[in-house]
Amino acid sequence: MFHSKVYVTLKKSILDPQGKAVEQGIHSLGFESVENVRIGKYIEMDVDANSQNEAERITKEISEKLLANLVMESFTSTTERIKE
């Protein structure tokens, strides 16, 4: 069994008004040094696969076809073996 973590964020080229609003909040909190705040989604799942490669391939396919809309979003993922 493998455990995958997928992070989905808006592409750099796409304005993230939610991130902008949170950035303003961070500045109001007194942390003026913070910039480029982006909001995204975090998805985790267990994948039953025979190998690390297979688990990664499955995770990637799910991410491309469902978890992220590649017109506006990009994603990164990690997959690691977990104990049964």
């Binding site: 796409i14 304005l15 939610q18 609003a21 989604k41 469902l66 809309n69 017109v71 506006m72």
Partner: protein, 249 residues
């Protein structure tokens, strides 16, 4: 020659909430045969027009329209569309159509981050479609919007293609017909409010024509979209009838 009633199917996803409005307008206002199609049905049956209504299918989980695309009925909707059948996606229906790959681009969160619910003006950019043939090019329609994710976006190449092919059907404008940034309620690229696919049989629009069709609500500009689709189907029927009549003489 008698006019045959047009058969209109309105798909109901869990979370759709404009399905009954679309059904009511199709049947009661327009006088056609309408039926609701539950999303678990494997087939849309014998229909001439499919409406994907507004609402919050699957609670907008993950992304608007992302899960609805996998509903059993969508396979048949895609088949119907690929065979040239008329499909109109309104609001959430538009989002479903982009997720299903039947229309290019995507609907992002409104740039204001606020849900926008109001009457506004649309300019008909292309009146030579199966959805706007009862309008004039440049005509203004007053139709309400109600959405949080209606900010149309596509890459620049797709946009160029849409513009070059006359696939942008409606743009948000002010009451004088000027397409301005102030008249843009959600940040859509080029004020896009509705687009059509390359073969002209699939339309997606964020504004709600079904909410501006019953005279009791004062605004009836939305009726023109329904009239256009119905006119398109009925003219096909008439063509077939006249061909049959010619043969039998």
């Amino acid at each position: 020659m008698s006019l045959i009633k047009v058969k209109i199917g309105v798909v109901v996803f869990p979370g759709s909430n404009c399905d009954h409005d679309a059904h009511y307008v199709s049947e009661t206002i327009m006088g056609q045969d309408a039926r609701l199609i539950w999303h678990k049905e494997g087939s849309i049956g014998n229909v001439d027009i499919v409406i994907l209504p507004g609402g919050f299918s699957y609670g907008d989980y993950l992304r608007c329209g992302a899960i609805a695309r996998f509903s059993p009925v969508m396979k048949d909707v895609v088949r119907f569309a690929n065979n040239g059948g008329l499909v109109i996606g309104i609001c959430n229906g538009f989002q479903v159509l982009t997720e299903a790959g039947l229309l290019p681009g995507v609907l992002l969160r409104n740039r204001s981050l606020l849900f926008a619910c109001k009457y506004l003006h649309l300019r008909v950019e292309n009146a030579d479609t199966k959805f706007t043939n009862q309008c004039k090019k440049g005509e203004l329609l007053e139709i309400p919007i109600a959405h949080g994710e209606g900010n149309y976006y596509s890459d620049s190449e797709t946009l160029k293609h849409l513009e070059g092919n006359n696939q942008i059907v409606f743009r948000y404008c002010d009451r004088f017909g000027k397409v301005t940034d102030e008249a843009n309620p959600n940040g859509s690229l080029k004020n896009i409010a509705g687009i059509i696919n390359g073969t002209g049989n699939v339309l997606g629009m964020m504004p709600h024509p079904e909410r501006a069709s019953d005279p009791i609500l004062k605004h009836t500009d939305g009726k023109k979209i329904f009239e256009s689709m119905i006119q398109n189907i009925q003219s096909q029927f008439q063509l077939v009838e006249s061909l049959v009549a010619e043969r039998s003489i």
